[in-house]
């Protein structure tokens, strides 16, 4: 196969730019790839040859699922590389591949774990040609960027049509994600989910992203809801329904503030599995990771063991020794994820301090309306236990009125503008601190917190 001089040059430039940006202490995760793509637009097709990749896309849980898959790869002794969540567009993915390639375009590692933005899937998948595509779920998120949830779904579908050999790992409980499995895509499909026997049965959400059948537009009926629109859905009109999941959580043995213990069924049988993160949505992430890896031929025992050992970090239930009682950072990006984070807070027992940081930069979504769709009202019964509230970020004043209208006393809310000021204020607290930041607010605040109490920047 002929490898062009142009591609070699693109790889060289990419690697140099990354080196320079690291020397300048910038992340340099996407910019080098952007320049390389200018030089050689088809660079990814060339570099992805010979690399066995698991790609993860969907609205929520991409990063956590990828970190779990990484832990599985590591424990399986695979030589792999992975991109980081800030670099999940074409440019960031290309940067990561180029960093592991020599100038003749040969990638030195055999395996890759690639997180792919759901909007970028359309252009990335055909060039990436992954062995497996894991789709986590679809929720409304950043509609200012993608228009509508059905457009996002169409993007993913188009992406998958570019890689017909990829195995599809789909969330059986998400009616939107499940709809990817139809005659228009030849891909083999494996399913994961939470079975009704697990007894996760929440009240139906006040606001669902998918009340009506994606195929025939009649209202779904549900045997059970796990959270948001996920659960045992079926359309009484056309018969579209939840597919049985080969990889499924079948029982909950215990859940606390740090982890869950569950019964898990795979094609090999049923086992007890520990998931080293709390909350129902992380059970989906664990099921997705195990489904993807086992279907690609990795040992079930190693997969199940790994989700009990991994730590995610980077703002996903990440803990810091900040203040007297420590701080926990929970990234929030959209109503479904945010409501789950709030639900987690209602399950804690002790008094705490809350910090909510809202930015509206492109990576956060420039439309902050979504905070009104998240269930902040669930905090109102906790008002006595939430001893102090900080709001911060470019749209801190918006967050303040959201909390006020959710029924929390405005007098308990303090607006702090800058991330370093907020980190310092939180560092003086004696109670446990829970921080709910949007993406760019998380990146900034995390840096400020690390300067105070230690830890790694995300590219390290």
């Amino acid at each position: 196969m002929h490898f062009s001089v142009r591609a070699s040059f693109a790889i060289l430039v990419c690697r140099l730019l990354r080196l320079v940006s690291r020397i300048l202490h910038r992340g340099g995760t996407a910019m080098p790839g952007r320049v390389a793509l200018r030089i050689c637009p088809d660079l990814l097709s060339t570099l992805s040859r010979g690399v066995t990749t698991i790609a993860v896309t969907g609205t929520n849980g991409k990063t956590t699922t990828c970190r779990m898959i990484e832990e599985i790869f590591q424990n399986s002794g695979l030589d792999y590389f992975a991109n980081r969540s800030g670099a999940n567009l074409m440019s960031g993915i290309v940067t990561e591949f180029a960093m592991h390639a020599n100038l003749s375009g040969h990638v030195k590692k055999q395996y890759a774990v690639i997180e792919c933005d759901e909007g970028a899937a359309r252009t990335v998948f055909g060039k990436l040609r992954p062995a497996a595509v894991v789709v986590t779920n679809l929720f409304r998120d950043q509609l200012d960027r993608y228009g509508e949830i059905t457009h996002t779904l169409a993007n993913i579908r188009e992406g998958i049509s570019g890689c017909p050999d990829a195995l599809l790992c789909l969330n059986a409980d998400c009616s939107l994600t499940s709809s990817l499995a139809d005659a228009s895509l030849p891909n083999r499909v494996v399913w994961y989910g939470i079975d009704s026997t697990a007894g996760v049965n929440e009240a139906p959400p006040a606001l669902s992203d998918a009340s009506y059948c994606i195929r025939c537009k009649h209202e779904y009926e549900y045997d059970y809801h796990t959270y948001a629109h996920l659960g045992g859905f079926r359309c009484p009109h056309c018969g579209y329904r939840r597919h049985e999941a080969e990889f499924a959580v079948t029982g909950i043995l215990g859940m606390d503030e740090n982890s869950s213990r569950v019964r898990f069924r795979g094609p090999w049988g049923e086992d007890d599995v520990t998931v080293n993160l709390p909350a129902v949505y992380n059970l989906y992430n664990a099921a997705a990771a195990i489904c993807g890896c086992v279907s690609c031929g990795l040992q079930p025992e190693i997969c199940m063991d790994s989700v009990g050992r991994f730590s995610c970090g980077f703002g996903r239930m990440e803990r810091f020794p900040l203040g007297e009682a420590g701080a926990c950072m929970i990234l929030v990006k959209n109503p479904a994820g945010c409501s789950q984070a709030l639900h987690y807070l209602t399950g804690t027992k002790e008094p705490f301090v809350l910090a909510a940081c809202l930015n509206d930069r492109p990576a956060d979504g420039t439309d902050v309306s979504w905070i009104w769709d998240a269930d902040f009202e669930s905090l109102a019964p906790l008002a006595d236990r939430i001893r102090k509230i900080y709001v911060s970020g470019d749209r801190g004043p918006d967050m303040r009125i959201r909390l006020k209208y959710a029924g929390l006393p405005d007098a308990s809310i303090t607006l702090v503008e800058r991330p370093d000021e907020l980190a310092a204020a939180l560092g003086r607290e004696t109670l446990p601190v829970y921080i709910l930041p949007t993406y760019t607010a998380m990146v900034e605040l995390r840096s400020a917190v690390i300067r105070l109490c230690g830890g790694n920047e995300f590219w390290e």
Partner: protein, 253 residues
């Protein structure tokens, strides 16, 4: 005194935090000791608007439009038209706003006939009008400034019997061309602004409540509330939007 609020089509018209408007209406009543009741009227449920003082209709995704149009045919369209001539107070946002007009012709030539309660129509455009907005609310709609966030590709044009809600200061408004935003007819107020609109515009929220309550109880004086936090968020948005040149960005689809 009690304010009975109808949330029409919360199951399909619920985009971009529109439900925040309901939260805002209810809280501002509660803080004044006025009772309120919200009834959600989804697709398929019967609608009797004579039972209500205030109707809210939000925006939706195109995907669900056909479900909605089918449902309107079964009596709801007549009910809405009658309630409007009966001076019911109504707030309609984006898709809900378009729905009150005569029709929506999409960019690719598909025509959806709406209920024609208001003299206005919508034509799809290839550009999406997205971004933070600032408007000057007309005196007949309470006056003052309004801030919000718009996201629409439909361009709406008002007929002669309908007045705009506001004048555009920043953003696109109805169509990005004639400087108007929203519509006002009898006690119906329409806007393209999500945001959601009411929490950061407490004056406009109170104007709606006053209009709704005055219709039922003759007069309604609302006690003032401490709106410092709302005003701070409102003013922060105005400072930010007016300091950015051309904040309402257009995006090719």
């Amino acid at each position: 005194m009690k304010c009975r609020i109808c949330h029409l089509y919360p199951d399909v018209l619920n985009l971009y935090g529109d439900g925040g408007n309901i939260i805002c209406l209810q809280q501002r009543l509660r803080w004044r000791g006025i009772e309120s009741e919200v009834q959600r009227v989804p697709i398929g449920a019967p609608l009797r608007l004579a039972d209500f003082d205030l109707v809210f209709i939000g925006g939706g995704q195109d995907f669900e439009q056909e479900v909605l149009l089918e449902d309107l045919k079964h009596g709801k369209a007549d009910e809405i038209r009658a309630a409007i001539s009966d001076d019911i107070c109504m707030l309609a946002i984006c898709g809900g706003y378009q729905m009150l007009g005569s029709y929506h012709e999409t960019h690719d030539g598909k025509r959806f006939d709406f209920i024609g309660a208001l003299d206005l129509y919508t034509r799809g455009s290839p550009d999406r009008m997205i971004g933070n907005t600032v408007y000057e609310c007309l005196p007949a709609c309470g006056g003052g400034t309004l801030v919000g966030f718009e996201n629409h590709s439909g361009k709406t044009w008002l007929g002669s019997s309908v007045e705009p809600l506001a004048k555009v200061i920043a953003g696109s408004g109805n169509n990005g061309e004639d400087g108007t935003e929203g519509a006002h007819y009898r006690n119906v107020f329409c806007s393209y602004s999500h945001g959601p609109l009411l929490p950061k515009n407490p004056g406009f929220c109170d104007y709606l409540l006053q209009t709704a309550l005055a219709r039922r109880y003759g007069s309604a004086e609302l006690a003032p509330l401490d709106d410092a936090a709302e005003k701070a968020a409102h003013d922060a948005m105005i400072r930010r939007v007016t300091s950015q040149a051309g904040s309402g960005r257009h995006k090719k689809k």
